[in-house]
């Protein structure tokens, strides 16, 4: 980072020497005239309007002659400092600093964009895809319903001993933080898909998710439908074989959050190592990039 910035700074220095300073010259002269004009109040307008035949109005003007032509003293002062002055130095520092900040921000943005675009590329493994499940009211819910908003997909099951409850508490915190950062815009869709459809019926899921966050959309379906959506999202899950009804068992599954953009393309994974703060930061960066590019978002 620093090494790429250094030649940039040198270039700026060269540029400011050759082009910025003459500009600085002419502006300082302009301000001088402006100042003198304001002193000569009633006839100032005439002075400017008839700049070409100014001498004829000289009789009415109270402004001293030296205002338009620099005195020897001023010329000497300018000569002694050369083309440098505190103003040009300040301009140089501000422009340089501004450029450095701008390039850093742009570089980070492009890096995020690269991550987001990576999963859209040809021949890359795609995470996510079409699916048909049912929401907690029994209504059909497909991948199309995720479009237009950023969605945050988690796979789990209600009998999960310790990891899912921890992660869902984290999810709840992230939901609130994102809501706060987007000032309540309804553009973030947290989704919980069960990997244990046999035991996790809509009623069970509703009771379970209620304890974490009311905004979480619970999805379930037939065993085949769940197996399909897990495959689309490259989620590994295994239900033990030959379970008798009523038997107690656990489901092995991957434990990542999947951040999907409004085109329903995979953006990034949020894992166990992320804190609610770091996860929110990642999500908000992607949301803000999307907005900056002026792409559409569904706020209903």
């Amino acid at each position: 980072m620093a090494s790429t910035m250094r030649p940039m700074g040198r270039m700026l220095l060269r540029a400011s020497r050759s082009t910025l300073l003459p500009v600085e010259y002419s502006t300082s002269r302009a301000t001088q005239t402006a100042l003198s004009v304001s002193k000569t109040s009633p006839f100032s307008n005439i002075q400017i309007a008839n700049n070409g035949i100014l001498t004829s109005h000289r009789a009415f003007s109270t402004s001293p002659l030296r205002s338009r032509k620099p005195t020897m003293g001023q010329l000497k002062a300018r000569h002694s400092t050369g083309p440098f002055s505190w103003k040009s130095a300040l301009l140089f520092v501000l422009t340089g600093g501004g450029m450095i900040i701008y390039f850093r921000v742009e570089k980070e943005r492009l890096e995020r964009k690269r991550i987001a675009e990576m999963s859209k590329g040809v021949g890359k493994p795609r995470v996510g895809g079409p699916f048909t499940l049912r929401d907690l009211d029994g209504k059909e819910f497909t991948a199309e319903d995720l479009k237009g908003k950023y969605s945050f997909v988690y796979f789990g099951f209600t009998h999960c001993p310790d990891i899912c409850p921890d992660e869902l508490d984290k999810m709840a915190e992230i939901i609130d933080k994102v809501k706060e950062s987007t000032k309540g815009e309804n553009i973030f869709l947290p989704v919980f898909i069960t990997c244990d459809p046999v035991r996790d019926t809509p009623d069970v899921l509703r009771e379970y998710l209620k304890e974490f966050h009311p905004d979480i959309i619970g999805l379930t379906g037939t065993y085949e439908a769940v197996k399909n959506v897990c495959k689309q999202y490259r989620v590994y899950f295994s239900t033990p074989k030959d379970i008798k009804p009523g038997e107690d068992y656990l489901v092995d599954h991957s434990i990542y959050f999947y951040l999907m953009d409004p085109d329903n393309d995979f953006v990034e994974c949020i894992g166990r190592q992320d804190t609610p703060e770091s996860a929110t930061r990642t999500i908000m960066e992607h949301i803000n990039d999307w907005k900056r590019e002026g792409k559409p978002l569904r706020k209903d």
């Binding site: 099951f157 001993p161 409850p165 035991r199 069970v204 304890e211 009804p245 107690d248 656990l250």
Partner: protein
């Protein structure tokens, strides 16, 4: 039995007749039972509660009974296995760190410097 032992309601059942998922307070009760049980295992230097089941029942009889009532059987098994897994994991990390440190020492002795 199980989870709802402290509440008077009959245990709710899932559609397949199995037990319904525990809520936040039952989870908390289960974690508490687990922590007390593991503390007892630590006191008696027992790592694997499944392998040394007989000894565990003799030494931590009260704790394991409470643990078994507070959590479902699948969870009890899961936590016992996780304890062994985490112990081995931490031991491996520790060993790798030590080996790395020793290697660095060795290389430094040969005049190598970290870049």
């Amino acid at each position: 039995m199980g989870w709802f032992s402290s509440s008077s309601d009959a245990p709710k059942t899932a559609s397949d007749g199995g037990r319904i998922a525990p809520d936040r307070s039952s989870r908390a009760r289960c974690y508490e039972g687990r922590d007390l049980f593991f503390a007892c295992l630590d006191r008696h230097d027992i790592l694997d509660a499944i392998k040394e089941d007989k000894e565990v029942r003799r030494k931590c009889g009260k704790e394991i009974a409470e643990f078994d009532t507070a959590c479902s059987a699948a969870w009890v098994k899961y936590f016992k296995e996780k304890r062994v897994m985490e112990f081995n994991r931490d031991k491996t990390i520790e060993r790798i760190k030590k080996e790395d440190a020793a290697k660095v020492q060795d290389l430094k002795a040969q005049g190598w410097t970290a870049r």
